[in-house]
Symmetry: C2
Subunit: 341 residues, 2 copies
């Protein structure tokens, strides 16, 4: 994402061709992950020949793929030897605790990517051109894939969010985790605070994944579930904290407000709604990753968006929340909005 | 293509996610071209609302697409108004003489892009995973599409190549244009030099396009055609110049040498083979666009490649050429190899 490249100099079609061919970047990273190429390099295979052998690939194929990964910034090359960058060593070596290769199972599932084959129609219509079977359809199986594949991506933000919201971690805390998915956000509270009780809402199959994770975290006795749609399920009342992590972006503002009204009703006095989201600045083009998430929502949902803080603040205000605060969550690219009942 | 982003600082998954989602860049530029979005902005529509109306799109779709194009560097945005960059003004406004929007008809034809759905298999195999119907198959219809769609991309290099090779443009010159396609490279010689005779080799349907262009250029009387495979057709003999523009990259070195032997045989004494190609440096990762072309060949051909000058020089030497010279062709990203019989 390098708009600065365009700022000066003669026009050239280089960026246009890079952009037209960008799909090859997607396929290259997918193939490299599937082949375990980064792991093979981490294990000491640095020539195309050795990498090919370690990955069950041809030398020519390994050489061309590795060179391409150098060009797009995911490998280094010196004297014909390939090496990992700091990013690929951290996130793409299977032996790294921060390995993220699994995210392609969700992020490159046809359920998501096929939407973009009809992007022109989506731009005309103003929302996904898939008439049925969208990601917001009831009990869609893609969310089980999400819950399993996206754990590595969510580990860091979930571990940063809980201490921000519950720094002392020693008081009774009743938490509702809406569209809990893998459950990591709620579980991070339960793991830090032995007096925290967490109730997770999601589709039944997805909650099975969350319960596995609760068991692994040793907090299953304080983990409760309410299967069903976040719009329909009876939440109960008296929650100190209601988590809305990566959820509001799927819906248009009116639908968000319907949900937020219900959220407010389930909060105890003094309770807080905690929203984790891709929140672009008011210019809607920075920071690039958060802002670009709007495109994902245009392709994949009828009316979702990456909302600015001003837009989120207004939705919470419209349903009666007293005030909302914006927090950064560095080094993640997501932001946190804390809204007080 | 920003490897420098990785050089310093904490590892972040930003580049990984950008790369995984890169397919959205391809779809965004395709949709913007299909909708005539850049042309609408050039015509004075600068708000999402006005752009939407001019393109027959929804305001929400236009806003999200425009913001995304700002993020990836193909538009500017100031105070909510969108504007063209120097690149998009030159190459993506339909009213610009350098308009290149048509290139997507070839570059994003399923014939090319579908190959990358099996990239992992291609890396294993060392060449395209399509068993049949590859771009090098006899008389493949994709080359008619190529000949029509790629004219804007070839206009500049063809206009630069002829004066480099035939600066005086006043001597009798017998030229053979192998895999002529649209015919632009040979036609640039014929247009400058009234004593130049050009013979074009390509599939019969493709030559029809070249002949249209020869007629439009007013040189049809000095334009001759030899329909068929460049490997099978009888070239004749006594050529001063034989053009090999964007052709050798489709084949493995042994196949290239078979062709070059035939080329040498058709040259007059003192004749020159003129090769225009994506020629990466010996490191095979710079310059980025030329080097990345290897990936296109891995996906789309059984054994093609973006050859270095050393590799091309060796092929010409192996079949008896006396010497080869490398020339830049600025501002294009292609290079020229002139090989002397």
């Amino acid at each position: 994402m390098t708009p600065e490249r365009q700022a000066t100099g003669q026009p050239t079609p280089a960026l246009l061709f890079d952009t037209i061919n960008a799909y090859q970047r997607t396929e290259a990273i997918k193939s490299a992950i599937e082949l375990g190429l980064f792991t093979a390099i981490a294990a000491g295979n640095t020539t195309a020949k050795d990498i090919a052998q370690a990955c069950g690939a041809s030398e020519r194929g390994a050489r061309i793929l590795c060179d391409y990964l150098v060009i797009i910034g995911l490998l280094n090359k010196q004297n014909g030897n390939y090496g990992l960058t700091p990013d690929s060593a951290m996130f793409l070596d299977r032996r790294s605790p921060a390995y993220m290769g699994t995210v392609i199972d969700f992020m490159l599932s046809p359920m998501l990517t096929d939407n973009f084959k009809q992007l022109t129609a989506a731009v005309r219509k103003g929302g996904t051109a898939s008439d049925e079977d969208t990601v917001v359809a009831p009990d869609h199986p893609v969310w089980v894939k999400f819950a399993r594949a996206m754990v590595p991506m969510m580990a860091m933000p979930s571990q940063l969010l809980a201490p921000m919201v519950d720094p002392e971690a020693n008081q009774k805390l009743k938490i509702l985790d809406i569209a809990a998915g893998h459950g990591l956000y709620g579980l991070a509270f339960a793991k830090r605070n032995p007096k925290a009780q967490v109730t997770a809402v999601d589709w039944p199959n997805v909650l099975e994944v969350a319960k596995e994770n609760a068991q692994a975290a040793g907090v299953l006795d304080r983990y409760h579930t309410k299967p069903g749609s976040a719009f329909d399920v009876d939440y109960g009342t008296g929650y100190d904290i209601i988590l809305l992590t990566n959820f509001l972006h799927h819906f248009d503002p009116a639908t968000c407000e319907t949900l937020l009204r219900k959220v407010r009703g389930a909060l105890a006095d003094g309770g807080r709604a905690v929203t984790l989201e891709f929140v672009p600045n008011d210019d809607r083009v920075t920071p690039p990753q958060a802002a670009a998430f709007s495109m994902m929502m245009l392709g994949a949902t009828p009316g979702g968006d990456a909302y600015t803080f001003a837009e989120l603040e207004r939705m919470f205000q419209n349903v009666g929340f007293a005030r909302s605060e914006l927090h950064e969550l560095p080094p993640t690219i997501q932001r946190v909005v804390i809204s007080y009942k």
